[in-house]
């Protein structure tokens, strides 16, 4: 097919839209806006309507579900408080055990220190008497013995 220059000029020639063009366009715009507003609202109301319709139609089920949820929450809360209580008791027992362990360690250290002190005094006594004997000085025991005699 071949278009001549005249054909193109005729096709692209300015035409008068006629009277009331602006009104028609504005009316279309208004219509499109109104349709845009109502369409999604219609869709939503349809869904919500289905959901709400369920609980309005079956209130017993709704109450049962709510009651179950409340029971669940109450049971969960009770369990949590029990867990916290058990945890507190466990922590207290652990602290008590640690304190007892520390006390035992201190006691063992004290026992060891006491044994060491006694050992040190034994060595001191033995060496003191040895030196005094070597130096021909009467030792404490000998002195006591002499005093008794």
């Amino acid at each position: 097919m071949h278009f001549s220059e005249d054909d193109l000029r005729a096709a692209l020639k300015r035409k008068d839209p006629g009277e009331g063009f602006t009104q028609r366009v504005m009316a279309r715009v208004e219509q499109a806006r109104a349709e845009g507003k109502t369409k999604p609202v219609n869709g939503k109301s349809k869904n919500n309507g289905t959901f709400f319709a369920w609980w309005t139609l079956r209130p017993a089920w709704t109450f049962a579900v709510v009651a179950l949820l409340l029971l669940g929450f109450a049971w969960g809360g009770y369990q949590y408080s029990e867990y916290r209580h058990r945890e507190e008791i466990r922590q207290m027992a652990e602290k008590q055990r640690q304190m007892e362990e520390k006390q035992r360690q201190l006691q063992a250290e004290a026992e060891k220190a006491k044994e060491q002190a006694i050992l040190a005094l034994q060595i001191a006594r033995s060496k003191l008497n040895h030196v005094l004997q070597q130096a021909q000085v009467p030792t404490g025991m000998e002195r006591i013995r002499r005093q008794r005699l």
Partner: protein, 195 residues
């Protein structure tokens, strides 16, 4: 500066001086025996006791809690109650001359003029050198050093505090409370058996 302030400053300075003197005495009474630690490798038997501060207080507390009925335990309590530190280093060697004179000298060099040598025994035949030093603080004893240097044994005992030397020397050989208790038990058992 008024008169009251001057008096207060003098009192404080006097107290500080007293504290410094007391601290000086305590530090003098405690000797450094760590340089003898090197002998541990050569020694066949090592006895190392270091008791001071809270550990000694624990020990004293336990000894004081022990049953008071026994005369020796009462004596033990009277010995330990004023002690501030007990340091013992004893080395027994299998062979003679395992330690040098320098080792002994390292301890002896710490003896200041305040220490008094109360006993010295030199046995050249057996190559034995024993000494007892006492550090006096007024009427009280602030520390004791017992140095026993035998060919196969070196023992240094350093006791800090008010040490009743006579009481230590007069202690019974078997004064360890546990041993005494076990001995008593054995005696009781024997008497039961006889009955």
């Amino acid at each position: 500066m008024n008169r009251v302030t001057r008096i207060a400053i003098r009192i404080l300075m006097g107290l500080a001086l007293c504290c410094a003197c007391m601290r000086g005495y305590c530090q003098d009474a405690k000797l450094q025996l760590d340089n003898l630690n090197k002998l541990s490798d050569k020694a066949a038997r090592v006895t190392d006791v270091t008791l001071d501060g809270s550990l000694l207080q624990f020990a004293i507390g336990l000894i004081e809690k022990t049953d008071d009925g026994d005369e020796d335990i009462a004596q033990l309590k009277s010995i330990v109650k004023n002690l501030k530190g007990i340091y013992v280093k004893s080395f027994e060697f299998d062979e003679a001359s395992q330690y040098s004179k320098a080792d002994v000298e390292s301890v002896r060099s710490q003896i200041t003029a305040r220490w008094t040598k109360i006993v010295q025994s030199i046995d050249k035949r057996n190559n034995e050198h024993d000494e007892i030093y006492v550090l006096k603080s007024g009427e009280h004893v602030a520390g004791v050093l017992i140095l026993v240097a035998e060919p196969r044994e070196l023992t240094v005992v350093n006791i800090v505090g008010d040490v009743p030397v006579e009481k230590i020397a007069a202690l019974e050989h078997h004064f360890v409370p546990n041993e005494k208790e076990s001995g008593k038990k054995q005696k009781k058992e024997k008497s039961h058996d006889e009955d």
